[in-house]
Symmetry: C2
Subunit: 188 residues, 2 copies
């Protein structure tokens, strides 16, 4: 942030406002404080019989790798509506009756993943504009080495473990980047 988006001043300072305990971008000209907060990424583990719907990414990052349909929650929608919207946009699949399955904190990039379970009566899906392909995949055929993000790998592992155990829970965890830049996954 280099300029105040309210008054156009170039005097923007990164400082701790009075009564606060964190640095914020502040405009000394019009006294606006700009807060930055985590974003929600919402999506679905969509199943048909014993298969899971995966999408092949048509966009960076990780173009060409496989992922669950998910994306940034938008203003004026519920988390569930966002998860269903992303599933439709990326895989042209219409889901309802979503059940919360995983809440994962990606603290190094300030994202909170909220992933829901959903079932489809028919395995109907086709690539949206952000996907190269969509596929309903058996557990033994999951491309584990070619998944887009660690949070997708973690979510699928939790899903298959719960399915095997015969009971689905709501899972919580954190994925964060360590000093050596490797990522660490922690389940709460």
């Amino acid at each position: 942030m280099k300029f105040c988006s309210h008054c156009g001043s170039a005097e923007i300072e990164l400082k701790i406002p009075d009564g606060d305990n964190r640095a914020r971008f502040c405009c000394p000209n019009c006294n606006t404080i700009f807060y930055e907060n985590p974003k929600i990424v919402t999506g679905c583990v969509v199943t048909h019989e014993d298969k899971v719907l995966l999408c092949k990414r048509a966009i960076e990052p990780r173009l060409g790798s496989w992922t669950l349909p998910a994306g940034f929650m938008e203003n004026n929608e519920t988390v569930q509506q966002g998860a269903a919207r992303e599933t439709y946009e990326e895989a042209t699949a219409t889901v309802t009756d979503l059940s919360l399955f995983a809440v994962y904190n990606l603290t190094h990039i300030s994202q909170v993943y909220m992933i829901f379970r959903a079932e489809l009566d028919q395995p109907e899906a086709s690539p949206g504009i952000e996907s190269l392909a969509t596929e309903f995949v058996l557990e033994q055929d999951i491309p584990w080495d070619d998944l887009a993000f660690p949070v997708i790998d973690e979510t699928l592992k939790l899903f298959f473990a719960d399915r095997k155990a015969g009971e689905y829970n709501v899972h919580h965890g954190e994925i964060t980047r360590l000093a050596d830049r490797t990522l660490r996954t922690t389940r709460f």
Copy 2:
């Protein structure tokens, strides 16, 4: 948004970018697109024996009314850390072992409330800078007509109903503003 926070241009336009389907603030000078997304409000239903911790608000909106300790999640923390931090900032109470209890979408103001249950061994709390008072309150003494927000009323009702039933669930719902400006609460 009147000025581009990257380049200072005053030519900011609210329009649908190519390949998108929603209006965003766009800078035609440096081609930056500014996305706005929902914020997470995170907090706790803190109990000691059969009492719930309430805070009397020292700040607007709803100064002087009663609420659960909660506030905006910050960057680089987990939702649980945010809930514990807010509980400490507002009530000087140290909570651990949080369990997700309610996820409520306030779609008209693009906030997602994520409220956790937590227990304290000792009823130790005192007002932080944003509270006038803290109190551990029995169900029959909850000031229902003097709670700060509908989402607080809803969360407490769900909490006491689950407690009576002897089983706590994760609850989902939406609170939104209708055309006549009244608020409607829906449980999913």
